[in-house]
């Protein structure tokens, strides 16, 4: 364990500025002079790697803080509202679930070729999808389906109303007969999300 790592861990996890004397208690190799040297080393690492944070001297101690130039980013994050529109990846996954429900994360990732848990999280937060069942197989993966809110939002009375023209991509067509339907664990039909 390197001294820079120890000092970094402490500066990261502490809720108040730490003095050189505080930091020196962490390891017998440290005293106030070496702490100063270690802090300098960390500073130049952060500069070289262009980290978004730096070590500042506050109230006689050291503290990790974001660099001033990122204030605008944080400000933007603060002020830009959660978009009224779904991102392209979110739309794609929603379409897949709408037509192939109940559908598991692994199948979605297989079709899309990228990790998709982040997108699923967005759709779950938006209450457009919910977990409706557990699939077969090891770990009994969670399967997703659309919610009542999904139907309401897009103006469908039921899932039967979803247009299913012939040009619907093969992967979105309903699974072939013979595949066992998964056991439904949530109360109600897939279109009725559990109260969670």
């Amino acid at each position: 364990m390197r001294l820079t790592q120890i000092v970094e861990a402490l500066l990261f996890a502490s809720d108040a500025p730490l003095t050189a004397a505080d930091l020196a208690r962490a390891d017998e190799r440290l005293d106030e002079d070496t702490v100063t040297a270690v802090v300098e080393e960390l500073r130049s690492e952060y500069d070289r790697e262009e980290r978004a944070f730096q070590i500042e001297e506050v109230a006689g101690g050291y503290q990790l803080l974001t660099r001033p130039e990122f204030a605008t980013v944080l400000e933007r994050y603060r002020s830009v509202p959660q978009s009224a529109r779904l991102s392209a990846p979110a739309l794609e996954v929603l379409a897949m679930i709408a037509y192939r429900q109940p559908l598991g994360r692994l199948e979605i990732e297989e079709i899309r070729g990228v990790q998709s848990s982040a997108v699923l999280r967005t759709l779950l937060d938006r209450e457009l999808i919910d977990t409706v069942a557990r699939g077969e197989g090891l770990g009994r993966p969670l399967l997703y389906g659309t919610t009542t809110k999904f139907l309401e939002h897009f103006g469908f009375r039921s899932l039967e109303d979803l247009p299913r023209p012939d040009d619907l991509p093969v992967v979105l067509r309903p699974p072939a007969a013979g595949e066992a339907p998964p056991e439904i664990v949530a109360p109600g039909a897939p279109a009725e999300p559990s109260p969670l």
């Binding site: 502490s14 959660q82 529109r85 929603l94 938006r126 093969v170």
Partner: protein, 263 residues
């Protein structure tokens, strides 16, 4: 049988002992596990006596939960009474119901959650090893979430695009090779012809594939249902064993010893 060290300690110490348990089911499970008793075949008279001894004086010491322990004690006594009644050999189609069945079900359900609680405790300990940032400037107010403004056309367009991307890559569609249940049943039956019992892991290990594990387990359950073998596990998370089923059940312990001697 193991003495549950109740009679030789004074009652004061004893109530503290009972207090250590989160409830009567916890105490019961403790008695069963401590003495390595098969939960599916609980010697009810023995356990009842030990349970009663364990909660003796519980009222006198004013334990709030006395009622809860006494309720379970009453249940045990009732089951014990039912067990000594002559078993009515039921006519065709009727199944004799073990008076212990409901208790076993409750104990297993409770133990299941005890195990989960144990895993949660481990997860908590793991999480406590990692620290989030200690000092964070005042958090930004959570921004407003706007009403969703997407139209179905957007979803529809996305749906069509899925096809365009997915169609040229059917080779990525990995299909698991089927593992026939009958193969695994055969494997287990063959193994149990040679030896009296076999570890689940030994049956699965040569294949190194989760699907094989699942199917082997299903095969075991199927054979258990057909009464061709018996699955046993002494304690949670220990080895699962498949036992050849003997016609005479009392030969079981000898089978155990023989198998141990073979190892």
């Amino acid at each position: 049988m193991v003495d549950v060290n109740t009679s030789d300690v004074d009652e004061g110490v004893f109530v503290v002992e009972v207090e250590r348990f989160t409830g009567p089911l916890d105490l019961l499970l403790h008695l069963i596990r401590e003495q390595d008793i098969d939960i599916f075949d609980i010697p009810i008279a023995q356990i009842t006596a030990q349970f009663l001894a364990a909660i003796e004086g519980i009222e006198r010491y004013g334990l709030d939960r006395a009622g809860e322990f006494l309720e379970t004690a009453a249940l045990l006594v009732r089951i014990k009474a039912q067990m000594v009644l002559p078993v009515q050999r039921a006519g065709e189609g009727e199944v004799w119901e073990d008076p212990r069945a409901e208790l076993v079900r409750r104990l297993l359900e409770y133990e299941h959650f005890r195990e989960v609680a144990l895993r949660l405790e481990q997860a908590e300990a793991q999480r406590r090893l990692r620290h989030a940032r200690g000092f964070v400037p005042p958090p930004p107010p959570r921004p407003v979430v706007l009403e969703l403004e997407m139209a179905w056309d957007d979803v529809w367009a996305a749906a069509l695009a899925v096809g365009e991307r997915a169609r040229p890559r059917p080779e990525h569609h990995v299909r698991l090779r089927a593992v026939p249940l009958e193969d695994k049943i055969g494997l287990i039956v063959q193994a149990l012809k040679r030896i009296a019992r076999i570890e689940f892991s030994r049956l699965v290990q040569p294949f190194g594939d989760k699907l094989h594990g699942v199917v082997t387990l299903l095969a075991g359950l199927e054979l258990a249902k057909r009464r061709e073998l018996v699955m046993r596990q002494r304690k949670p998370f220990t080895q699962l064993w498949f036992y050849k089923r003997k016609d005479e059940t009392e030969g079981k312990d000898e089978t155990d010893d023989a198998a141990d001697a073979n190892r």
